[in-house]
């Protein structure tokens, strides 16, 4: 690993950009030279042109807004509920014994498997999508929060006790911060899963959102270019939001935890 570690961050970035440029160039060239059929996989320039023709900024913004609203609300509540349940299960023995088997039983079910039930319970509207996005965030966060609580250095709790802390203040002032690094990892995984679940849910049952935008294009026999651009847009959105969450986590615990 010596040669790699000698590269500076700046040259890493440069290499990354060169890699991306090469991939796009190869894609463009193979489409133009007829190596791949533009009707099923158009070149980047064609795709963008098609998307610019068929989509207005307004449509894109509207779909984007709905996707973000769904994923944020589902994720936020799912992560909050997951953190609360995980922390409580790790702190209160009785509650842990009660809740954990249930969580372990439900956790292996992929959130998407809940879609039929969600539609039956909540219909085709927003609540059913909210529900499965919620699950997408809930399970990673609840698991990480519980793990974090169980792996707290007991000496920290003892030290805090010698300063007269016990009960809820001990939990909030010491146990939760001590479990924060694990919790943060869970939050980040939860975001990724929520996002994936969002797009899948929009592909299956939605009348707006980025997932709907691309599947609708397919169903109405529109342009493959729009689909390609939509996919890239979804990827970019996930990239940006994940980076933002990563940066927030770094600000939150980076300095003392060194993550």
């Amino acid at each position: 690993m010596k040669p790699l570690s000698r590269l500076s961050a700046a040259s890493d970035l440069t290499l990354g950009l060169i890699g991306a440029f090469l991939a796009v160039a190869a894609w463009e060239i193979s489409a133009r030279t007829g190596l791949v059929d533009p009707a099923i996989f158009p070149s980047p320039s064609l795709a963008i042109r098609a998307a610019a023709e068929r989509l207005t900024a307004e449509t894109v913004a509207d779909n984007l807004f709905w996707s973000l609203l769904r994923v944020f609300s589902g994720f936020l509540l799912g992560a909050l509920a997951g953190a609360a349940v995980g922390i409580a299960a790790g702190w209160y023995r009785g509650f842990g014994a009660l809740a954990r088997p249930l969580i372990e039983l439900l956790r292996p079910i992929p959130p998407l498997a809940w879609i039929p039930l969600a539609i039956i319970w909540f219909g085709l509207g927003e609540p059913s999508k909210f529900f499965i996005i919620f699950l997408g965030a809930f399970f990673p966060v609840v698991t990480a929060a519980y793990q974090g609580m169980r792996s707290i250095d007991p000496m920290l709790l003892k030290a805090a006790q010698t300063f007269g802390l016990s009960g809820v203040p001990l939990l909030l002032r010491v146990a939760v911060p001590a479990a924060a690094p694990d919790l943060a990892t869970g939050v980040r995984i939860g975001w990724g899963l929520s996002f994936g679940v969002l797009v899948a849910a929009e592909l299956i049952a939605a009348d707006r959102g980025l997932g709907y935008m691309i599947i609708n294009e397919r169903n109405t026999g529109g342009s493959v270019g729009v689909i390609v651009v939509g996919i890239l847009l979804i990827g970019a959105l996930n990239l940006i939001t994940d980076a933002a969450i990563g940066a927030a986590i770094k600000r939150w615990i980076g300095r003392w935890h060194g993550a």
């Binding site: 920290l156 003892k158 030290a159 006790q161 300063f163 007269g164």
Partner: protein, 271 residues
């Protein structure tokens, strides 16, 4: 400070500290045992039948081989570890948990990683009722006492082991406890800093009238500081012998009395 009537019988010329179990006990350990139950179900006897009486304002050191149970005994006095049999009382009150006037400097520092040095120390003022600014000011004062003014804004992971240890000492001092339980507090320090902090500790002990139980692996450190040195034997941990240190302070290593005691403790420890 609670002064039990028996305490007042102490002759004033002995200065601080009782000189034997017959004297009034501030911390009284009666037939204390500790058995750890392992996950496999096995029981490990760690301390066997420890009797010890520590007078108010006394400075007592524990010395003994690694693993003999010094930390365990200290944690039991701190109320952080149950007593399997027997009992431990402070000022006549059986220890049922922490917060009965015991401040602890932990062997592994036990600093809060998410707090800076100054906030770790300020944590010790939690129960003081002081305003935040005042707590911060005093925390900085304590940090400068242990020679860490410059590191106030650092997190534990950004500090060396010795620096962390000093923060941990400052944090325990912030609590201003009646009883200071210190588990190898100067273990990770260089000789010069160690000697400075020993003197500082003695100064605080004399000025603030504290009872100190101090664990160390250094015979000369124990001799420099203590009224009595309790030598523990291993497997299971028990008191092997108690050495009163009747030497005037400040103690000099060149003092023949110092050397004679050093030899006596060394011999006892190594047999």
């Amino acid at each position: 400070m609670s002064q039990s009537p028996v305490m007042e019988r102490r002759s004033p010329d002995t200065g601080v500290g009782g000189r034997g179990p017959a004297e009034a006990a501030f911390i009284r350990i009666d037939g204390a045992r500790k058995v750890f139950t392992q996950r496999s179900g096995g029981a490990v006897p760690v301390l066997d039948n420890v009797d010890l009486a520590i007078a108010e304002n006394e400075f007592v050191s524990f010395i003994g081989r690694s693993g003999c149970g010094k930390t365990t005994l200290l944690n039991m006095i701190a109320g952080l570890e149950d007593v399997s049999a027997g009992r431990i009382a402070i000022a006549g009150k059986v220890v049922t948990g922490p917060g009965q006037g015991q401040g602890v400097v932990f062997q592994q520092h036990a600093l809060f990683p998410w707090l800076t040095a100054v906030d770790n120390v300020a944590f010790g003022f939690r129960k003081s009722g002081l305003a935040k600014a005042e707590r911060c000011r005093r925390a900085l004062e304590l940090l400068s006492l242990v020679g860490l003014d410059a590191a106030a804004g650092r997190y534990p992971r950004e500090m060396s082991g010795g620096m962390q240890q000093r923060v941990s000492i400052a944090r325990a001092l912030a609590l201003d406890p009646q009883i200071l339980l210190m588990d190898e507090p100067f273990g990770a320090l260089d000789e010069l800093t160690r000697i400075e902090l020993q003197q500082e500790l003695l100064r605080i002990w004399e000025a603030r009238r504290k009872t100190i139980v101090f664990v160390t692996h250094s015979i000369s450190e124990a001799l420099t500081l203590s009224d009595r040195i309790v030598l523990l034997a291993s497997n299971p941990g028990r008191i092997k012998r108690i050495f009163p240190v009747d030497l005037p302070r400040p103690r000099l290593r060149t003092d023949p009395g110092f050397n004679a005691l050093y030899q006596a403790i060394w011999n006892e420890l190594s047999t």
